[in-house]
Amino acid sequence: MFVFFLSSGLFLGWSLGANDASNVFGTAVGSKMIRFRTAAVYCSIFLILGAVISGAGASHTLGKLGSVNAMAGAFIVAFSAGASVYLMTKARYPVSTSQAIVGAIIGWNFFSGSLTDYNSLSKIVSTWVVCPILSAVIAIVIYKLVVFCIYTLKLHMFTQDILTRFGLLLVGAFGSYSLGANNIANVMGVFVPVSPFPDISFYGWFHLSSAQQLFFVGAVAIAVGVFTYSHKVMATVGEGIVRLSPVAAFVVVFAHSVVLFLFASQRLQSLLIYLGLPPIPLVPVSSSQAIVGAVIGVGLLKGGRGIRWRTLGGITSSWLVTPVIAFILSFISLFFLQNVFEQEVYRSVKYELTPQAVERIQMAGISLNGLESVFGKEFANASQFRKAFTKQKMLTDKDYNFIMASAEIDNLIITAQGLDVIQNQWITEAHKEALRDLEGRHFSHKWLLENALAEKSALWRSRVNDPQYNSDLRSSIDYICTLFRPDDD
């Protein structure tokens, strides 16, 4: 069954390779500086390396949007996203896999009655506008700098050609690496908790975890996509919008990589915080948008006459259409899978204002006056719960999110079997010690487990000004919840 469900992840991986990978080498191939075959080989190698080595840092913002909690549901989400990206690839438009996944997850949220976090959604959607603009600005700045350098250094035409080719390969390899690292979680993330692969160690000096092996399989699917189908989208990126000179092609890929780095580097964020500067929010941005933005930036710098606005209009509308198609596909397929094939596509999450939850909410200074009628009442899903208390009370978004999190019912039992299977690099022996102390206990809310762990050890407490640690902590708690939730076995 695992292999069957995995197939949709592999399909999504394939369509990612066919579409997103073209961003990285599209301009290089379009300007004839690198042959398609060479580009595909380099792209695949670095994609796989990125996925296996740095793939563990999953994008949490997508997770916040809605957590698909059943295998069959994950299958459909991945399938719908993959199919919509495939359709767009057929039409030769560079779209973003993240966009498709956002659409598919919202489809799942609607179907399962879960709530979509509009805060995260608006944050993600706003990057769809900000990212191309920022990318265009960065491309213009880099282009000016590169031109200045070329004129100052008085490079020979052939030397410039060699440097541009090496540069294209270098930024292309870097781009492929980041693409693998950032996107493998979209493709394979949902399958990590159920991965059947055992850890492998090669003579003690080289270790491959279960997740890394899964990421490797996903990355191979992406590489297959690159080889079999990315040629056409590469042509759109490389020649469709505006004809690029080799130097401009280099600038475009470079600017795209800088934008991805700015929005994805946790180290940069920590550095900015350390220096007392305002940090850049870590949001998954689309490489397609970054590349198209950069291409337009360079086009505008040259007067904008060469830009084919028709193609650009097509690309922009494909960005709007992709999440919508993914949403519709996801919703309809979930309906079929549940009602025709009788598969569990979501695990229902119940909500109840239990006495502990009420206490927690009141301790946080949020008044529950007028909501007494809802106390102790169980609601089948988030939408129903929300309806019940929004009818009676107006709340701020923050308070509302806090109440939702507090009232979410879970069923967590810390068992010895669960403790034995923990395979997570972040969770050390000291972390496990705190967990062992809780063996045999039952928690009806996730936050109760979090509090109990925080009481046992400082390692399980979030830290001020350490977003990296806190995000690792959150994902580790999510991970152990999947192990200790009896329904999920």
Binding site: K32, I150, Y151, H156, M157, F158, T159, I162
Partner: protein, 216 residues
């Protein structure tokens, strides 16, 4: 993409330099050849003719190998067509120098002593025009910002050679003790030499378009 390509590129860059050296050398040989002819030193003239023929052959084979390498190895894909056209045009200049020398060898025209200085001046202007063109072509590869400075000199020497050629032709036809057939033959020689400078200016005009295409 490895060090082999790096080596090939350095090689082709050197070949283009060698080819441009040939063009420049053919101009100098032409100048020396005409000097020898005017002095009546047949042996030296024939030696120069032999040298210029050799240089032209060398230039041809260099141009062919550069063309082949550029296409087979897909080097400088964006400017490849322009580079090939430029090299072919430069080769035409080389051919014209050789052609002019052969014409002297075939027709052995009698050039009256009073035209010798003007003839030498015309040849000097034409060779300078081609020399400036060679410098422009080198700058196109090495320092694109300075191409315009050299191209300006091509135009200057072309205008100078036009002036000298007009003056020379006028003087030839005002010389009463020459047959019309002799005058016509000399006029043809003057025009043939002057056309080399015109050709150099045409190449410069095309080069200015390549420069615009390559500008970043």
């Amino acid at each position: 993409m490895d060090f082999r390509i790096l080596k090939q590129k350095l090689e082709i860059g050197k070949r283009i330099d060698d080819f441009l050296d040939n063009v420049s050398e053919s101009g100098l040989l032409f100048k020396l050849g005409v000097d020898s002819y005017l002095k009546g030193n047949v042996e030296s003239f024939e030696k120069k003719l032999e040298d210029i023929t050799h240089t032209e052959n060398q230039g041809d084979s260099l141009r062919r190998s550069i063309e082949e390498q550029l296409y087979v190895q897909t080097l400088i894909p964006e400017s490849r067509g322009d580079v090939l056209e430029l090299l072919e045009n430069m080769d035409t200049l080389l051919d014209r120098f050789k052609g002019a020398m052969w014409r002297f060898e075939i027709e052995y025209p009698t050039i009256p002593a009073e035209f010798h200085d003007d003839f030498k001046e015309l040849v000097a202007c034409v060779v300078d025009a081609v020399e400036a063109m060679v410098r422009s072509a080198r700058a196109f590869f090495k320092d694109i910002a300075s191409v315009a400075d050299h191209m300006h000199k091509v135009s200057y020497w072309e205008k100078q050679s036009d002036k000298v050629s007009t003056r020379l032709q006028r003087n030839i036809f005002r010389q009463n003790d020459l047959h019309l057939s002799h005058k016509l033959q000399l006029r043809d020689f003057v025009m043939h030499v002057d056309q080399i400078a015109d050709q150099a200016e045409d190449v410069a005009d095309q080069l200015s378009i390549y420069v615009i295409k390559r500008s970043l």
